[in-house]
Symmetry: C2
Subunit: 272 residues, 2 copies
């Protein structure tokens, strides 16, 4: 990654990357059943993933939990994975779903977005239970950094919280989209504050004013295809179908992994 591209906004870098490589965000989920299926330990699995995708897809999403489950050893590996992918020009979205307040949230922002941090990524997912404003220390890092806020998820337990309503009767899923839209409003092109929106949610918020990236987990094995994604967000910029297990199941053969990602990028080429 050149110094020049580092200074561009995350929204701009993401748009350039998806034009070059397609919209699919490849999930790096080294969970135990996959390690067993590949017949590999954590380190070899991650190295194979990097071999397969570094420089070849627009953006990858390491699932931090699967590294954290291995403690400091997992973090040593995650540092290497993030750095190797970013050096290849592939964007890294750390799926950490962090959320806290004040100086504690600032410490998370430093970990995942800070210059010089060993975990520095291009973007991070965050969780807003402590209020959208609590995320300010991450947003304050500026539009060179991507922040994806949980809005509406596909798991059956999600609506219990995400469909609760504010004093105006607005659902929290919509409130989060509106807050992100307000931050993106002044952006030149695609903004850098995105949302996480499950690709199989039954009732989606209105995304027409968001002007930011939309990460859509739930594509592939978990159920959604191009039709579902088109219905939720067709015509909007920055839509990133997140596919993990339906690509990773093609491994550990590198050519087959690349072919699986290419196939998904072709299926979702209408998004560009």
């Amino acid at each position: 990654m050149t110094a020049g591209s580092d200074r561009a906004t995350f929204g701009k870098r993401l748009q350039d990357a998806t034009v070059a490589h397609g919209p699919v965000c490849v999930g790096l989920d080294p969970h135990t059943p996959l390690l067993e299926a590949w017949g590999m330990g954590l380190e070899e699995f991650a190295a194979t993933f990097v071999d397969a995708f570094a420089g070849r897809v627009s953006i990858v999403k390491p699932q931090v939990a699967f590294f954290e489950a291995h403690g400091a050893r997992g973090y040593v590996l995650l540092e290497w994975v993030i750095s190797a992918l970013r050096e290849s020009g592939t964007l890294v979205l750390a799926d950490a779903k962090r959320g806290d307040i004040g100086s504690t949230m600032a410490a998370y922002a430093q970990a995942w977005l800070g210059d010089g941090s060993s975990l520095q990524s291009d973007a991070v997912t965050v969780s807003p239970y402590l209020g959208f404003g609590s995320l300010e220390p991450a947003l304050a890092r500026g539009p060179e950094h991507g922040v994806f806020v949980l809005a509406s998820t596909s798991n059956p337990e999600g609506p219990q919280i995400q469909h609760a309503t504010d004093p105006n009767g607005r659902r929290l899923s919509q409130l989060i989209v509106d807050e992100c839209a307000a931050v993106n409003a002044g952006a030149d092109g695609l903004g850098s504050v995105g949302i996480v929106l499950g690709a199989t949610v039954a009732e989606a918020p209105d995304l027409s004013q968001l002007k930011g990236p939309i990460l859509m987990p739930g594509v592939g094995a978990q159920g959604a295809g191009p039709d579902e994604v088109r219905k939720l967000a067709g015509g909007l910029p920055g839509v990133l179908p997140a596919v993990s297990r339906d690509i990773l199941k093609a491994g550990p053969d590198i050519a087959r992994l690349r072919a699986a990602a290419e196939k998904f990028n072709e299926d979702f080429a209408f998004l560009n």
Copy 2:
């Protein structure tokens, strides 16, 4: 820690600990201004904290973000801190505020509560934006493990989310308390599913049915004293005033650190 005490429920171990050492949960927050005030690096700061409090207070709360900000190096140190404190018999509550779904949430539960995990703690804080049910992989670890769910926080941005209402007009802060109460209902004595409740919240949920621990940040420098804690939760079991900077500012002198924690335990002795 003996094998016997490991098999007791977290609620029972917590009650025994607070009878022996008082109710105060000492926060381990190695943020930069404190490191500067103590004139120490991260490692020496953490070692001094362990020297001061291991075996001398009931429970400590490492703030994971301040370790994560140092990447893998921070996690190496956090593993040591957790293990040293637990070996001394002091309970460790990892303040991680993790939250995800399915196998990803299960990986976080493995990281912080799993037998054999290098980060295994006695309890962990979790965030419920993905629905209370999404936390099941942590709760399913059983009552030998403590889980503290964010309910209502003192930061001004919190009510935007936490006071949103479900279809019955119930606030999310109350909904979370009710969900925790349902899990604790069958417990013999204090349950193991707690909440996080800011000590300076203006409008607290009804806690009368919770039967679980109540972690109360916001005591000391941030504003609440014994009167505020008594008003919110007086007479309830398992109330843990969380104090960090008002104790840590007494450091790095070990005798002064211990005296500061003892003073807070005396001020809150009415909780036992």
